[in-house]
């Protein structure tokens, strides 16, 4: 089993009121088969045995589908690999002797709770504003009752892959939530079931996001480059179209 020795520079912050600082922690004898979070577990085990406070970080499924984990590793959201969550990032991508800078997501709308844990409830507010279909479904219909072209279904599925991890906001030079928001708007706008509420949805979700203090999109494409689900900015363009349709084409204000 190959092992590597690392030095971690981890953001430590006791709570929302604490200013926070970087702490240097040695991480010797890390197996290259470990995931990034398992590496943090090993470091935390040692800290606990030494009677020190372990590094707080968010995690849940550890198989890349829940959206809980995430941190900036050497300035990149979820680390250097493309299309990978932090839990699916393996230590074989690092070299012996590397120093890793580990910081929480940074945005006005995402407050640091403790160490690497950030409060992403702003995303919940955006979804609660309209990221759903409220029509009662009734009994199950025949599958061919509402025809949807294969390509459209695929595109909606691509958008629906968003796990709400927040890497788009963390990567965006403007801390904008456009990729996250557009994934949900685009997903539901592509589906016949989402059309009746399309105008209400895009207006309400955008208003909620603006109120949360996210920045404005400037088409830098950093979100697309770091999204663990590789969601494309074409969904942002669709959301912009939906907004235009809602503003000028619907009776809603």
């Amino acid at each position: 089993m190959a092992t590597i020795n690392l030095t971690l520079k981890v953001w430590r912050q006791k709570g929302q009121k604490d200013k926070g600082r970087l702490e240097t922690l040695p991480a010797p004898g890390i197996s290259t088969d470990m995931s990034f979070l398992e590496m943090l577990d090993v470091v935390n085990e040692r800290l606990t045995l030494e009677g020190k406070e372990p590094v707080a970080f968010d995690h849940d499924c550890r198989e890349g589908i829940c959206g809980m984990c995430g941190a900036m590793v050497n300035g990149l959201a979820h680390g250097p690999e493309r299309g990978t969550t932090l839990c699916q990032l393996h230590m074989r991508h690092f070299r012996d002797g590397d120093t890793l800078m580990i910081e929480p997501w940074r945005a006005r709308a995402f407050k640091v709770v403790k160490d690497l844990v950030v409060d992403r409830s702003a995303f919940d507010k955006i979804i609660a504003a309209g990221g759903y279909v409220s029509a009662s479904t009734g009994g199950a219909q025949d599958a061919n009752a509402i025809p949807v072209p294969m390509e459209t279904a695929e595109e909606a599925m691509d958008a629906a892959q968003c796990i709400g991890c927040g890497a788009c906001v963390a990567s965006c030079p403007n801390a904008s939530a456009m990729l996250f928001m557009s994934a949900k708007v685009s997903h539901l706008a592509l589906m016949p079931q989402g059309r009746p509420e399309a105008a209400r949805r895009v207006l309400a979700m955008l208003r909620a996001a603006d109120a949360c203090g996210f920045g404005n999109c400037s088409n830098e494409r950093e979100c697309e480059a770091k999204c663990p689900k590789e969601i494309k900015i074409t969904h942002i363009a669709r959301m912009n179209r939906e907004y235009m349709k809602a503003v000028f084409g619907s009776a809603r204000e």
Partner: protein, 213 residues
């Protein structure tokens, strides 16, 4: 009409304003460049172009009013976006690397924009509101570019404008939702090409005028 104001004050609404006025400026650049390139047919052709343009004075005044309105919207909205985007991340990462999405052109948009504003002010002072004794536009251009400092400023200015539109043109299409798997790759290339044409087309003029004078 309050709904219109409300629609354009949202984050996407402000971007629409930037994109629409930006596309307006791109068309202006294309027309301005086409006119200026007449200098390559000689000073007579250049002067004739300028005279014919000024013969359409009411139309020119109307266009100037339009450009001024677009400039006010583009600058005011741009500065608002710049400020909001700056304050949307009060605490920054100690280390932040680009993930491969942004380019030199996209990352410098607010700064190139402000430089263009300064350049346009200078350009209006040197050409539009010039108080010299020169009678024709070619004489005016020759006397301005006799100063190497102006040649330098104009060359750098045109590189900056080229950089701004190289991201801006494509970006405006994306913002207005004009994204399509068949056309977007071409629009992205066209945007870079347009930036290059603007930089080279306008940027070469001072040197040619100096050579001809």
């Amino acid at each position: 009409m309050l709904w219109v104001l409300r629609a354009f004050s949202s984050s996407v609404g402000k971007k629409f304003l930037m994109a629409a006025t930006g596309l307006g400026f791109c068309s202006f650049l294309a027309a301005h460049l086409a006119g200026n390139l007449t200098v390559y047919w000689g000073f007579d052709a250049f002067n004739s172009y300028a005279e014919h343009l000024h013969a359409l004075d009411p139309l020119v005044k109307f266009a100037e009013l339009g450009l001024l309105t677009m400039a006010l919207i583009h600058i005011a909205t741009g500065l608002t976006l710049f400020y909001q985007n700056w304050t949307s991340r009060p605490v920054r990462c100690q280390v932040k690397r680009a993930a491969g999405g942004r380019t030199l052109f996209s990352a410098t948009m607010p700064y190139t924009g402000l430089l263009i504003l300064a350049f346009v002010a200078l350009h209006l002072i040197t050409f539009k509101f010039a108080k010299g004794a020169e009678e024709t536009v070619s004489q005016l251009a020759s006397s301005v570019f006799a100063n190497p400092l102006y040649v330098g400023i104009y060359t750098v200015g045109m590189l900056v404008v080229g950089s701004h539109v190289a991201h801006g043109l494509w970006s405006a299409f994306q913002t207005l939702g004009l994204s399509h798997p068949k056309y977007t790759p071409a629009v992205e290339k066209l945007s870079l090409l347009f930036g290059l044409v603007v930089a080279l087309g306008f940027g070469s003029l001072p040197f040619f005028i100096v050579l001809m004078s």
